[in-house]
Amino acid sequence: MSNVLLETKGLHRFFGGLHAVNDVSITVTQGAIKGVIGPNGAGKTTLFNLIAGTIQPHNGEVIFRDKKITALKPHAVACRGIARTFQTTKLFSHMTVLENVMMGRHCRTRCGFISGMLNLPRTWREDKQTKEKALSILEDIGLKEHAFETASNLPFGRQRLVEFARALAMEPELLLLDEPAAGLNIYETKELAKLILWIRDRGVTCLVVEHDMSLVMAICDDVVVLDQGRKIAEGPPRTVQRNPEVIRIYLGDSDA
Amino acid sequence: MNLPQVVQYCFAGITVGSIYAIVAIGFNIIYNTTGIINFAQGEFLIVGAMTAISLNHFVPLPVAIFLAVVVTTIIGGLVEIVFIRHVRNASVLRLIVITIGISILMREAMLHIWDEKVRSLPYFTGTGVSTVTILGAHISPQVLWVLGVSAIIVMGLTPFFRFTLTGRAMRACADDRMAARLCGINDRWMVTLSFMLSAGIGALAGCVISPVTQTQYDMGASLAIKGFTVAILGGLGNSMAAVAAGLMLGLVEAFVMSQFDIAYKEAVSIVILLLILVFRPSGLFGKREIAAMRAL
């Protein structure tokens, strides 16, 4: 099963004089969990933003399932099957946990203004399905008892989980995880690793930006290393770990 | 049109344009220190003029104007202390809505204190019919007063912001309020000061233009819109550009008045405002930081 799900070709992005992403080409095979690591400022989140459509590259292409998605806006990218989570949790704080996850179903449902305003029967069916799917995901993730609580009332770790549930509700093919372990302790990180593996077993390919090396080593099939916008290395975690360039950018030169 | 007529219209344009520029500078001072757009800016001009007009019945004109500026400055400070200072976790939008409420309140207060009659200060020098001849056109000496006072305000503010400690402290607040506070700058005071300063120069401008345009309790809103248009045109926060933009708007208005129906004069600034907001919100002279102005 060596299908290439996502491919970036020669992506370049500048911010003023800063070459934030410099000729980055990566491939993500279907069913894999691929890690993206590198020091702060390496361009990892920018890369995510380029893939997700939040910003446009100045050069290069993003190809998803053999189709170019470079110019698409975030909502269109989402509807193609790419979900993402954010570095800082972006939940809908005043909405309930259930409503948050139901929002994940948005790109898979269709009823619009007119059917909404007239409360047509087809909205009843669709909303019922949306609610049921959302509840079943919450159950799978273990948050069902919080379904009707306001999202902002949950502890931080649970809020993270809600964000995952919401992304999963989209039934994505590719999930972009931006530093999912940020702010989690050892036990929570272990749970997170299990969760990501479980997500992959459901058929979702994952691209994970992370700083936590233990997590990366534990779950990633494949890792790409960025430094100052450039790709330094790519390959299985053990191999990359021994790459002298990679060691240098993390630990520094003895001459520096 | 012959030369004297053109000169006439040009002077009319830059006269009223320099007042718009002063209003815009008032906006910029407060915006630069706080990020708020103060909708009540126009009212400061009117309050200043009305106060001076009333005081003029008891004291000579220069004293009346001086006192009016002082009173309006205090009012500006009070407005900030009472309404703006204590707002916690305020989004910029909420504060703007508050200033809209304040402007309406001030206008209604003026209506009840002074009634809706049109008034004006007497001409500073000469009378309504005295003229000075420049390039064949007959200009009222008051026009020179307006241009002179505006120039002094602008030229006074530049060294103030660049060289005095207070001025630089205000600029520091604009750049990074937290850092300013860490440097020992009393940022809350700076905010109050910015309101007071804007109110003061507004009052002065209102007084000097009063003989030319007359003063009525509800003129503040129209001045605020035009001042805002000028501020945006020059790039919010950029006072030098505001001067240029103000003169431009004034000249365009004068030109429109000369060629078309006078009723369209008001529409000019609004149309320019809408065009600028849509096509170039960073202003003619501002950097193209469109990402900062636009939502997704």
């Binding site: 409503e99 948005h106 203004f113 909404g116 | 939008l93 304040i102």
Partner: protein, 356 residues
């Protein structure tokens, strides 16, 4: 069915309306109905604005402009005398289609003008077109830029109706005929039709509320709320934020225009005072006091405050009162009065949760 629990307040209010009418008729104080009817029409603007501001989180300081577009369009079309053009092909075609009718004006002379229904359709179409044209660029703008742009829009409409001869300039347009909705039912300001107009107005308002409530509880309503809560997240979930904001803007403009049309026919006239900045601010105040994202709160406050204002309770301090209310709300409770803790028992009924 749980779907219909949301309509309980609608039924309750409908019953209340009926009771109120019976009480007023019984105590021979039906004259109050005039202000109540007018307030109901103003409330239509508020409902639309509540969707735009409270749910979609956008601001409009020029909504009175859309009210005016509706009102003035129907006023112009139904009063402009086409007698001089009766032989032109376009006019005679309209005449034969019944779009343009001959009627008597108040002086008894014969005039030829549009009949209210076609005028209504034109007003609605015009509003939608203008709302799209304005919305397309303005929706992109952030916070205070959008506020200023919408303010500018309202001002332009004001200047147009104040300056245009066809709009009656400062005097506005009067002698607008009543609006015959269907045989036997008309929107008419005269005393004989008071009760009829009262019920028509409230029917329209409750219909609008029903549509709004449905929208808020639907997939679109959730999407709007998500845009308000966190636009970036909503965008990443597949919500076309720009399109939704634009559509809500147009929808709210439509509500305002319908209010404008009906009130113009009810009053028999319209003037530039309907389009002032203070009017637009007033609508904003009402939405803010009512609780931003609280449809029933907005309706209640809209009717209450407008009623008091129309009956002159605030005297010459009318605008000042609204300004004070606005400042107070913004200072102390930007979520609106009806969200303060002591009202909490009331809000579950009045709020818009999806968890039925």
């Amino acid at each position: 069915m749980t779907h219909f629990r949301r309509y309980i307040p609608v039924i309750a209010v409908a019953i209340g309306i009926i009771i109120l009418q019976v009480v007023l008729s019984g105590t021979r104080s039906t004259y109050y109905m005039t202000q109540i009817t007018m307030s109901a029409y103003y409330a239509l603007v508020v409902i639309g604005l509540c969707l735009l501001m409270g749910y979609a989180g956008q601001i409009s300081l020029g909504h009175a402009g859309f009210f005016a577009i509706g009102g003035y369009t129907t006023a112009v079309l139904t009063t402009f005398n086409l007698m001089a053009y009766r032989d032109t092909p376009l006019v005679s075609l309209c005449h034969s289609l019944g779009v343009v009718v001959q009627r008597q004006d108040i002086y008894g002379a014969d005039i030829l003008a549009f009949s209210p229904w076609p005028a209504f359709v034109v007003a609605i179409l015009l509003t939608v077109i203008i709302a799209f044209m304005i919305g397309l660029p303005v929706i992109r703008l952030k916070g205070h830029y959008m506020a200023m742009a919408s303010l500018g829009f309202g001002l332009i409409i004001y200047r147009i109706v104040l300056g245009g001869r066809i709009f009656g300039q400062a005097d506005g347009i009067s002698n607008v005929p009543p609006f015959k909705i269907i045989a036997g039912l008309e929107v008419n300001g005269r005393a004989a039709f008071r009760i009829e107009s009262y019920y028509i107005a409230w029917f329209v308002v409750l219909a609008a509320m029903t549509l709004a409530i449905n929208l808020v509880h639907s997939r679109v309503g959730r999407a709007l709320r998500s845009i308000h809560e966190n636009e970036e997240a909503a965008h990443s979930l597949g919500v076309n934020t720009y399109r939704y904001k634009l559509l809500v803007f147009v929808l709210s403009a439509l509500f305002a225009a319908v209010g404008g049309v009906l009130l113009t026919h009810y009053n028999g006239s319209i003037g530039p005072s309907e389009v002032t900045v203070t009017k637009s601010v007033r609508y904003l105040v009402i939405v803010a006091v009512g609780g931003m994202a609280n449809l029933w709160g907005a309706l209640f406050m809209g009717v209450l405050l407008n009623f008091l204002s129309l009956r002159g309770v605030f005297g010459s301090y009318d605008d000042a009162v609204f300004a004070i209310i606005l400042i107070t709300i913004m200072l102390f409770s930007p979520q609106g009065l009806l969200r303060l803790p002591k009202f909490r028992t009331v809000t579950p009924l009045l709020s818009r949760r999806a968890n039925e």
